[in-house]
């Protein structure tokens, strides 16, 4: 081996040795600094002036209401609900089934839940004014998302109905490959949906996810749909 090669190897060896020594010293410094205590009382120094609060306050809201397990008309509607619904305040309440997890607010949605062992299934409620284009158009849009052919008006009229908020509401089940706008596809997916037409708006409840996860949630989804109840204020 040439002498210059030895010099390079020697250099690397010394660098490794010195690096270890520097790293150990720095590590010791970090440990000592962390032992110095961070003080358990901290002054708040940062302030910001805003024209409106991002989340409207809910005076007297219980924890169940704050965490989305319950909703009452007395509370401000969650951020992200349809503007028309927000302005009117929601006239109905609901109860989340056991095991469902409230999820972060999403624009246009009144409330979102996730379900399943790894929260793979998603269920949410939206409200659209003026019927949102009609039950058939929305049901066929859901079918298109699942890669299925649209139904005729007669086929939509023949769908099973359940009573929600006092209205017969078409119940939809579609199996297929669910494709969201991002292009990400979920094979062997199941969509459960309900369209509740209550003049002057329609309530849409939808659950999507892998069929193996959504299937066991069928009863919970039905229970959630039927838990939608007019609030006393709306009835008065």
């Amino acid at each position: 081996m040439a002498q210059s090669d030895y010099a390079v190897f020697l250099g690397i060896f010394m660098a490794v040795r010195d690096s270890i020594s520097i790293i150990m010293t720095a590590l010791l410094a970090v440990v000592l600094a962390s032992c110095g205590g961070d003080g358990s009382v901290v002054e708040i120094t940062r302030t910001r002036t805003v024209e409106f609060l991002p989340k409207p306050p809910g005076p007297n809201a219980t924890s169940a209401q704050r965490f989305g397990y319950e909703h009452t008309a007395a509370m401000p509607s969650p951020h992200g609900a349809a503007p028309a619904a927000e302005a009117a305040e929601l006239p109905f309440t609901w109860t989340a089934p056991e095991g469902w997890r409230p999820a972060a607010d999403r624009p246009m949605r009144v409330v979102t839940f996730t379900a399943g062992p790894n929260q793979e299934a998603e269920c949410y409620v939206t409200i659209l004014g003026q019927g949102g284009g009609g039950a058939a158009a929305n049901i066929n849009r859901w079918r298109e998302q699942m890669g299925q052919q649209p139904l005729t008006e007669a086929e939509v009229a023949a769908l099973p109905v359940i009573d929600v908020l006092g209205k017969p509401s078409p119940w939809v089940e579609v199996r297929g490959t669910f494709t969201g706008p991002s292009g990400a596809a979920v094979d062997d997916a199941l969509l459960l949906g309900l369209v509740c037409p209550v003049d002057p708006f329609s309530v849409f409840v939808k659950m999507t996810g892998p069929a193996s996860v959504v299937e066991p949630q069928r009863d919970a989804f039905l229970a959630f749909c039927t838990s939608l109840t007019w609030s006393p204020a709306a009835n008065s």
């Binding site: 790293i23 961070d38 910001r48 409230p102 849009r141 939808k206």
Partner: protein, 386 residues
């Protein structure tokens, strides 16, 4: 002392140190990439690339202490500056290499500035909406405000880094009639109702307990949660659970005023406002995949408005902030439904540093190779002549 400084200078500028640092970077890149099987991108970035030290568990069992990429790249910048610029030969034959080294130092410097001083998040607007704030993807904050204000509210902000990993801490301000003590904080959590017969691991407040969940691989989906105690100067303390994705904040009555206490994603102020006038999108035929989407916005600053179109490859750059067209929704919007547009917002004082570095490195390589080519051609012609 002189010898010590000389030895330190030699060590920091040594070729051997460069080799070790480059090998460590290779190792960290490899390990960080493989670790993404188990951890999300955000966590891997924090653990391997934004850290000073880390413990890598080889095959999940053998703990190996390693310097983090933040320390390695800082050392590399010093090493390149001292060894590749200060100590390097300066003759015309070395100008190209020298420029290359300067370019790499600029690149590392830009990375350091970005790490320390950049802010990033997202801004969501419906058509017709205007905002001058954007929200972090990952970081949290506690905001406390007197909700009785009319048209103007002063929020007292506690950044998440002061309480998320710090144990119990009390926060106070002369402007607040109470102290806020953050007892416990969870990075990802779920408030669960406690039924009779349950034995929850944590405290129960108002019939709920906060369950700690493993961090989500997509870090932006984590829902932080904290146990807080609000202690007025006199009177009874109030215990509460705050949850990051709660649609309604906690409201407490103190000194006859309603105070709102909210755990939420950290918010940043833009030095200008952005108003969304129109959002347009086109899908690939027969699919739900977007082919093109763009937003017509107005940039509002000091009462002066300027119309700008933000599309996928044409961001809005202004006063150090860059707004990229990132997403849109709602995902299943029907015909005629209002749409919203999502902008990724980045404030990076060094966002042009990679461009400058590439130019410097390119010039350096051109100088170096051009000189080598000229020398080669000259040798060839001289050889042919002799």
């Amino acid at each position: 002392m002189k010898d010590l400084l000389r030895n330190l200078y030699r060590f920091l500028s040594s070729y051997g140190l460069s080799c070790v640092l480059f090998f460590l970077l290779f190792l960290l890149t490899l390990m960080g990439t493989l670790e993404q099987i188990h951890l999300g991108l955000f966590d891997v970035q924090k653990k391997y690339f934004e850290s000073v030290f880390l413990i890598h568990e080889l095959f999940g069992v053998l703990p190996i202490p390693l310097p983090g990429a933040y320390l390695v790249m800082s050392a590399l910048a010093v090493n390149l500056f001292l060894g590749g610029i200060v100590r390097a030969r300066k003759g015309p034959a070395h100008w190209g290499v020298l420029l290359g080294h300067i370019g790499i130092v600029v690149l590392l410097l830009g990375a350091g500035i970005q790490y320390r001083y950049s802010e990033s998040g997202n801004l969501t607007l419906y058509e017709g909406e205007q905002s001058s704030e954007f929200e972090s993807y990952y970081e949290w904050e506690l905001a406390i405000a007197d909700a009785s204000g009319d048209g103007s509210f002063t929020e007292h902000i506690i950044p998440g880094r002061q309480f998320m990993h710090a144990g119990a801490r009390t926060f106070r301000s002369p402007a607040l009639p109470f102290e806020v003590c953050v007892e416990r904080a969870f990075r990802n959590s779920l408030p669960q109702p406690v039924k009779p017969g349950d034995t929850p691991a944590g405290p129960v407040v108002d019939g709920f307990t906060l369950v700690s969940l493993p961090p989500d691989k997509q870090a932006e989906r984590n829902a932080a949660g904290v146990y807080v105690t609000i202690r007025p100067a006199s009177g009874e303390a109030t215990e509460a659970i705050l949850w990051g994705v709660s649609p309604v904040p906690l409201t407490v009555e103190m000194d006859g005023k309603p105070w709102v206490i909210d755990l939420r994603k950290e918010r940043f102020q833009l030095p200008f406002a952005v108003a969304l006038d129109k959002f347009t999108h086109e899908m690939h035929p027969g699919t739900q995949m977007p082919r093109k989407f763009e937003s017509d916005v107005r940039k509002v600053e000091n009462g002066i408005e300027q119309s700008v179109t933000i599309s996928m490859n044409a961001p809005l750059r202004h006063r150090g902030y860059t707004l990229y067209q990132a997403s849109w929704g709602p995902p299943d919007a029907g015909p005629g439904e209002p749409l919203f547009s999502v902008f990724a917002v980045v404030n990076n004082p060094a966002d042009q540093f990679p461009l400058y570095a590439c130019i410097i490195i390119s010039v350096g390589l051109c100088v170096h190779f051009a000189r080598s080519l000229v020398l080669y051609l000259r040798e060839q012609s001289e050889g042919a002549a002799s």
